[in-house]
Structures are given as C-alpha cells and as structure tokens.
Point group: C2
Chain length 265, copies 2
C-alpha cells in the first residue's frame, strides 16, 4: 500500500492581539490593522473611547463590557468599556479560544511614550499586560498628538518591526517600547535606554465656571530632559530624528540595592 | 561688643507627603497618620474614595478637584477627585509652599502589593510619583483586604522604616515596596526581589440583570507563584511570615538586551 504523501505543513500566519489607549476608532490603531492584516491574523480588543494616561490601571470595582464590532476572516474587533489593561486581560481570559498569540501589539499611540511617559502610558499598559501573561509585546507610538496625525511614514517599519520582534524571541518579562519622531523620513533606528526626564508645572488652576469660589486643576505641564547631552537615550534619539527602540523589563527590582539595604533594615 | 550667642539650630521635623489608593477615610492611611504625626509634619493628599488598581494612571481628560479636610499644626489633609498619581502630582505642584518633602509615604494599603501586583497598585503609583519628582518614597501594604484590617502589629515598624528610609538616602529613581503579612507577630524583615507571579482566570462572565442577553465581566482571578521554591522573593517572604522590603527602580530599561537588539534592528 502506497504511503500517503507527506503534506508540506503550511506555515501558520502570525496571530497578534492588538490594543491601544486611544480607542478602537483611533487612526493609529486602524493604520496598524490595515498594515498588518495582509500578513497576520488579528484579534483587536481596544477601549470604546480614549484612555490616555491610564498606565496599568485595571477596572477593579465595576464590571466591564465587550462589544463585537467586526468579525471577518483573520480579523475580529471588540470594543471594551475598560482600560487598555482590561482589554488585554479579557483577550487572554475570554477570547483566544486556545490559540496562543505570537505577539501583543499596542498602538500606534497618538503621542510620545518615551522616557518618563512610559510609566503613565496606557499603550504601554496594554503591552505590559501581554508580557505578564508570557506573550512578547511591542508598543508603537508617534510623537504627534493630533487625531489626524500622519502615520504613512511609519508603514514600512511596522511589519518589519513586528516580524523582527517575533523572530528575536524577546526574553520573559520584556517588551519593546518603539517611538517614532514626527517626520516624513527617519535618520535610522537606535536601540536606547529610557531617558531621565521629569514633568514640571503639572497643573493649571482654574476657577470653576458658575461656582467661581471653587477651583479645578487641569493636567498640563512641560517635560524637562534631565540629561540632554546623553546620546544613548530614547529622548535624544527622537530629538535627532531617529526611531527609538527601548527594551523594557517588568522586573522592577532595584537589584543593586538589595545587599546594601540588608545592613539598614 | 559681645557676640550674639550661637543658637543651636533646632533640627527640623521630617516633612512627609502621604497618599494612598483606598481613599482619605481608609483605616490604613489613618493608622499611618496617627503613628507618624508625633514625629513628623504631614501633608496628606489622598483620593476622595477607593482607587484600587489604578497603577500610575493620571486624569488627563477632565479636571480634578481638591477639598481641604483638615488643617492643624503639622497636619493638613486634602481629598482629591483624581487618582493616587494625581494626588502626589498636585501636592508637588500646588501644595508644598517651598518646603521639600523628605519622603513620600503611601498606604497603608488594604491588600497585598507584592510581586506582579506592584504593577497594578495605586499605592505604588503614588510612591512612584514621588520618585519621579526626585523625592524618595516608601509604599506600605498589609496582606489583608478587609476595610477593618488589624494594623496594630505594624505600628512599631512604621516609624522605624520611615526614619531608616530617610537616613538610608535612597538613590534617584528608586523606592521601597514594603509588604506586611497578615499576622500578629512577624518572623523578621527580608530584603527581597520582586517574585515572578501571574494572574489566572481573571474574569467572571455574568449575565446583566434585566438585560439577560448581555454579558458583563467582573475582575476576579487567582495569583499563581511561578517560582514557589525561590527564597529571595517577596512572595516567599510573605508566605513565610516575614516583612518583605523590595527596592524598586523606575528605570525599566532592559539594559541587558540593548547590545543584542542592535544586531536585530
């Protein structure tokens, strides 16, 4: 009896979970979907509106909802009432149906998530949540807050970076924070450390209209670069027209302090 | 003419900014206030209600409010409509009146903020915000979620740890995440690294009462210890009755990956 001929195993398309913090309607996310869809299967779970500055916040005291926006071959989109972190948690806990994602991809954020901003960013929050579940992750951000920001110059890099991140096999607890300067052409790619910056004058005090003896405080402020001459930071790369790729770790232990503190406590 | 006799400069009492994520009425914060007040000047800026799981979230799209709750000699308390991060940002930007805090102290949280929980914790978010402004910080948490948790066993340690943290002079970008097990007596203090844990089964799907074809998702879950035998983690310390002191850094660069990634990108 003749053997059944071996079938070449068809290489599976990468399976990506996408999220962001600007909401499922945001241009940045939809550029990401359009660009990646020809090569990848996509499960998109994104907030139903803007969740900027939500960091790793999760919804602990009220329930969240999921609304199916689209389901086509290779593309499913849900809108979630919660935070970016909730979105990725829900994807992992409720929507994977046994298929393990190759990568969580978050963004493209409308705005800079380099240096200290990384700590506040919901875009990074979504990426971190993938990492916390053992899934490698990449966060993309463009240094342009405009809802109609021009993402076209980024397109050739998105697929390249996603496939490189999958192939590189990021170690456990790590992800990539990738920021693009606002430019039509980039001077290249720099692998960076997180720059030291801080925010100053963070609130504008204003009288409350109608109840003028009451004050409200609007988040504003200026970001100050505390090491403007250091050329190995994400801040420097962006200021000089480079794409900044910053590897980040979720092990935030200050390992260097452990021995010294044993003498103090 | 006789010289004016030198006056011994009176040593100033430490000045602490206090916050938390359980709100200004929470027992944990009020235990902290009562315990520290005899030795320290306190500026308390805490949320006006519970903000659990808010991480470093900040209020970016609406204004926040501040309500003065109490002003006595050495103790001022404000309630804020925003997040723990907003509270510390507002303290720094609007309320210091030129006096630099010696320490930001956050907590005492009702619940465990060790290992992966640190990333979601608003208690840590408040501490991190101090660090981002160059102020050393300590976060205190008790592994007991009860609103009426027993904080008495912690009292002797609070003042000791606060003064040690000030005296130690934590380096820039670092803070201490201090977790107490739920116990009447502790087996000692361990300086730890952040344990590797992850959350599983994170949502319970439930029908929405009244609209039974709709589902909602409640955050639940079990935390799994991925390295139960490692004795240098905060998780191990707490499971074995020790107070866990974990030094944390806000430089989340994965420095070890920089060289390798230069060959990839």
């Amino acid at each position: 009896m003749a053997k059944t001929p071996k079938r070449t195993k068809k290489k599976q398309r990468p399976f990506l979970v996408l999220s962001n913090d600007d909401g499922f309607r945001a241009k940045g996310l939809n550029v990401l979907i359009d660009t990646l869809r020809p090569m990848c299967d996509l499960l998109v779970v994104a907030p139903d509106g803007t969740r900027s500055g939500m960091a790793c916040a999760m919804t602990a005291t009220i329930p969240v909802t999921l609304q199916k926006i689209k389901k086509e071959r290779g593309l499913t989109i849900y809108a979630c009432s919660g935070t970016p972190t909730d979105c990725v948690k829900l994807a992992v806990a409720q929507l994977l149906r046994g298929r393990r994602p190759d990568l969580v991809v978050s963004g493209i954020n409308h705005g800079d998530n380099s240096s200290v901003n990384s700590h506040y960013s919901g875009t990074l929050g979504a990426a971190y949540e993938g990492v916390m579940h053992g899934i490698p992750a990449v966060a993309f951000s463009l240094c342009d807050f405009s809802p109609d920001a021009d993402f076209e110059p980024l397109r050739p890099y998105l697929i390249d970076f996603v496939f490189k991140a999958i192939a590189a096999g990021l170690p456990p607890l790590t992800c990539l924070n990738i920021n693009f300067p606002k430019a039509q052409k980039f001077n290249g790619v720099r692998i960076c450390r997180m720059g030291r910056t801080h925010w100053n004058n963070e609130f504008t005090k204003a009288r409350r209209p109608g109840i003028s003896h009451q004050f409200v405080y609007w988040l504003t402020g200026d970001r100050i670069n505390d090491e403007p001459l250091a050329q190995d930071t994400d801040s420097w790369a962006l200021e000089n027209g480079f794409i900044a790729v910053t590897p980040e770790t979720l092990d935030v232990t200050a390992h260097g302090l452990i021995t010294g503190l044993q003498d103090v406590f």
